[in-house]
C-alpha cells in the first residue's frame, strides 16, 4: 500500500476522534451529576441558610433538566470555557495550564528514563534467556512491578532524602526559588532554561529526579518485561537464522533483524505507558507533593469541585486519545504489513 493511501486511512481514524471525545464528555458529565454529592454545599458550606443554597443552585443552573445542563456545558466547552473551579477560584482552564505541565514534565522524564533503561535490559534478558543475567533482570522487574508505588516512593524518600540527604525533599522546587523565573511554559526546567537561570534549573532537576525515578522504575519494569517477551518471540523467528546464515554480526542480527521486527509493537507499549503516566500519577504526586494533574484531580474530587473534575478528566481523555492515535500512526507508517 502506498504511503499516501496509508495516510488516507489515518485521516479516517482521526475523524473518529470527535465522536470518541463526545462520548467521553457525555459519560464524565453524567457520572459527575449522578454522584451523591451536592456541588452547591461544597460552595456555600453546610451551615448556609436555605435561601443562599437555593440561589446558588439557580446561579449554577442546577435547577434545569439534565439534558439542558449538558447542552449548556458542551456549548461553553466549544468556546474553550471549562467553568470555574470552586476550590482555587481560578478558571479550570487556567488551573490545567498550571497543573498539567508539572505532570507533563514528570511523565516525560520518567518515560525517557524508563525506555532508555528498560528496552536494553529487556533485549539483554531475551538474548541471555535462562542465564543468571536474565534471572537478575526478571527479579528486578518483578520487584518494580509488584511493589506498590507508594511504598517505593516512601522508601525512596526515606533513603535518598531523609537518610543519605542526596535528594531534595518533596515539592517541585525549593521555596527560596518560588516565582524566580517567569512562567512561560509552566515546565519549570524549560522556564528556568529560557530565563537562563542555572540555579533554578539545577534545583528543578534535582526535585524532578526522585519522583521521576520512582515512576521510571515502575514503568521500566513493564517496558523491560514486554521487550523481553517480544524479543524472545522475534529471536525464534526463521529470519533470525537467515540473518545469521548471511554471516552478520551478533549485534546486527539482534538489533537490525530481531529488534527491527518488534520496534513498532514497542512504540505502542511506550505510548500507552506514557499515557498512563500523563493521566497523573496520583499516588506518586501525593507522596512527593507534586503539584500535578493527578493531585489536582484527586483534591477536586474530594471537594466535589465538579467543573475541575470534568476539565481534568477531559485532559486525561484527550491525552489518551492523542497517544493512541500516535501509536496507530506508527503502525501504519512503519509496518509494511499493515493495510
Amino acid at each position: 500500500m502506498s504511503k499516501r493511501k496509508r495516510l488516507g486511512t489515518l485521516a479516517a481514524t482521526a475523524a473518529s476522534v470527535p465522536i470518541t471525545l463526545f462520548g467521553l464528555v457525555l459519560v464524565t458529565f453524567l457520572i459527575g451529576r449522578v454522584m451523591p454529592i451536592d456541588p452547591v454545599l461544597a460552595i456555600v458550606g453546610d451551615r448556609a441558610p436555605m435561601d443562599v443554597v437555593e440561589q446558588t443552585r439557580l446561579e449554577l443552573g442546577l435547577d434545569r433538566p439534565l439534558p439542558v445542563q449538558f447542552v449548556i456545558y458542551v456549548g461553553k466547552l466549544l468556546q474553550g470555557d471549562l467553568g470555574r473551579s470552586v476550590m482555587t477560584s481560578h478558571t479550570v482552564g487556567a488551573d490545567i495550564r498550571h497543573f498539567f505541565p508539572a505532570t507533563l514534565e514528570l511523565a516525560t522524564v520518567a518515560i525517557l528514563i524508563a525506555a532508555l533503561i528498560g528496552i536494553p535490559l529487556g533485549v539483554l534478558a531475551a538474548v541471555k534467556q535462562g542465564t543468571r543475567t536474565d534471572h537478575i533482570i526478571r527479579v528486578l522487574c518483578l520487584a518494580g512491578h509488584s511493589l506498590p508505588i507508594f511504598v517505593l516512593a516512601l522508601l525512596s524518600l526515606l533513603v535518598f532524602y531523609a537518610t543519605l540527604g542526596w535528594a531534595p525533599g518533596p515539592g517541585r522546587q525549593d521555596v527560596v526559588f518560588d516565582d524566580m523565573v517567569p512562567a512561560v511554559t509552566n515546565l519549570l526546567t524549560v522556564d528556568a532554561l529560557l530565563a537562563g537561570d542555572w540555579e533554578v534549573f539545577r534545583d528543578a532537576v534535582a526535585h524532578l529526579l526522585q519522583p521521576a525515578g520512582v515512576l521510571a522504575y515502575f514503568s521500566m519494569a513493564y517496558i523491560a518485561r514486554m521487550t523481553r517477551a517480544f524479543m524472545l518471540d522475534s529471536l525464534s523467528g526463521e529470519y533470525v537464522i537467515t540473518a545469521r546464515a548471511k554471516g552478520l554480526s551478533a549485534a546486527r542480527v539482534i538489533w537490525k533483524h530481531a529488534f527491527g521486527n518488534i520496534s513498532v509493537r514497542l512504540i505502542t507499549v511506550l505510548a500507552l505507558t506514557y499515557a498512563g503516566l500523563l493521566e497523573g500519577a496520583v499516588v506518586t504526586e501525593t507522596v512527593f507533593s507534586w503539584p500535578g494533574l493527578g493531585l489536582y484531580l484527586t483534591v477536586s474530587l474530594l471537594n466535589a469541585d465538579m467543573n475541575a473534575v470534568l476539565g481534568a478528566t477531559l485532559v486525561v481523555g484527550l491525552t489518551y486519545l492523542a497517544l493512541n492515535l500516535f501509536a496507530d500512526a506508527a503502525y501504519r507508517l512503519m509496518d509494511p504489513r499493515v493495510k
Partner: protein, 275 residues
C-alpha cells in the same frame, strides 16, 4: 574435500536426560551435489546446519572431525564462523514467508548480504541486488527489489532467498527443503534454477528433502537418514538397487502411474534399524 564430518553427534538436554538427534554421522563432500533424505526428526537438517554451526542454542554438538575446507568448525571462533557463513557457504530455508525479514524489502536484504562480505557503497549493493534478482530469473527485478516479503509469492520469495545466498558467491549451498512450501509446478522451476546456478558456478550443494525420487534425480549422491544415522548411501540413479529395508520401504510407499497399486503398503519399522 570441502566438508569432512566424522562421527558427528548432536544432542539436546531434556528433563529425561540427553536426547540424541544425530548419532554418529560421517560424510565427506566435494564439489558435488549431495542429497540427504529422511523423515522429519531424522537429523538431516541438524547435520547440515552443524557445518555452519547454526544449531539451536541448547544443542550439544560433538564430533571426531568437523571441518569446512580444513577449518575446524567446532573450535573456530565466532568471527571465523562468520567469515564462512554467507561468504563461503549459504543456507536456504524452507518457507520464504518466515525466512525473509518481514520489515525489510527484498532488495535491502540481498544488498545486506552483498555488503557484509564485499566492501562497497549502499548504492553499489542495491544495484548488485537488482542484478542478482535478474540472475534468479525474476522478470521485473527493480520492482521486486522494492517489494516487501508479504507482497511476493512463495516462488518469488524463494528466488529472493536464493539471490541473497548467492550474493557473496559462496562455494557451497545448503538447501534445507527449499521447495517443500511451494506448489508442485513452482517446485520444478526452483529446482531447475538451483541446478543451473550450482552447475554454472561449480558450487557444492547439499539438498535436504523428504522426496527420495526428486533428490536422486537431481543429485550425484544420496544419503538416507533414519533416527539420527545414515542408513544408506546411494549413487543417484541407483535408487532401484537400494539395500536397506527402510529405503526400500520408502520406495514401496510411492504410487506410480505406470504400475498402479490398489493399496499402498504401510511401512513396518524394525527396532533393529535404531541400533
Amino acid at each position: 574435500m570441502l566438508v569432512e564430518i566424522e562421527n558427528l553427534t548432536v544432542s539436546f538436554p531434556t528433563p529425561q536426560g540427553m536426547s540424541h538427534a544425530v548419532r554418529g554421522v560421517s560424510l565427506t563432500l566435494g564439489a558435488e551435489k549431495m542429497g540427504i533424505v529422511g523423515e522429519s526428526g531424522s537429523g538431516k537438517s541438524l547435520t547440515a546446519r552443524s557445518i555452519l554451526r547454526l544449531l539451536p542454542e541448547n544443542a550439544r554438538i560433538a564430533a571426531d572431525k568437523l571441518t569446512f575446507d580444513g577449518i575446524d568448525v567446532l573450535r573456530a571462533r565466532e568471527g571465523a564462523m562468520r567469515a564462512i557463513r554467507g561468504k563461503r557457504a549459504g543456507l536456504i530455508l524452507q518457507d520464504p514467508k518466515y525466512s525473509l525479514n518481514p520489515v525489510m524489502t527484498a532488495g535491502e536484504q540481498i544488498a545486506e548480504a552483498w555488503r557484509t562480505h564485499r566492501k562497497g557503497s549502499r548504492r553499489e549493493a542495491l544495484s548488485a541486488a537488482v542484478d542478482l534478482l535478474a540472475q534468479v530469473q525474476i522478470r521485473d527485478p527493480r520492482r521486486v527489489a522494492e517489494a516487501y516479503p508479504h507482497e511476493l509469492s512463495g516462488g518469488m520469495g524463494q528466488r529472493v532467498m536464493i539471490a541473497m545466498m548467492l550474493a557473496p558467491d559462496p562455494e557451497m549451498l545448503i538447501a534445507d527443503e527449499p521447495t517443500s512450501a511451494l506448489d508442485a509446478t513452482v517446485q520444478a522451476e526452483i529446482l531447475r534454477l538451483l541446478e543451473d546456478l550450482v552447475s554454472r558456478r561449480g558450487m557444492a550443494l547439499i539438498l535436504i528433502s523428504h522426496d527420495l525420487p526428486l533428490v536422486s534425480h537431481f543429485c550425484d549422491r544420496v544419503l538416507v537418514m533414519y533416527a539420527g544415522r545414515i542408513v544408506e548411501e546411494l549413487r543417484a540413479g541407483d535408487l532401484t538397487h537400494a539395500q536397506h529395508a527402510y529405503t526400500r520401504g520408502l520406495l514401496d510407499c510411492l504410487p506410480t502411474l505406470s504400475h498402479p497399486k490398489p493399496r499402498l503398503p504401510v511401512m513396518v519399522r524394525d527396532p533393529a534399524w535404531l541400533s
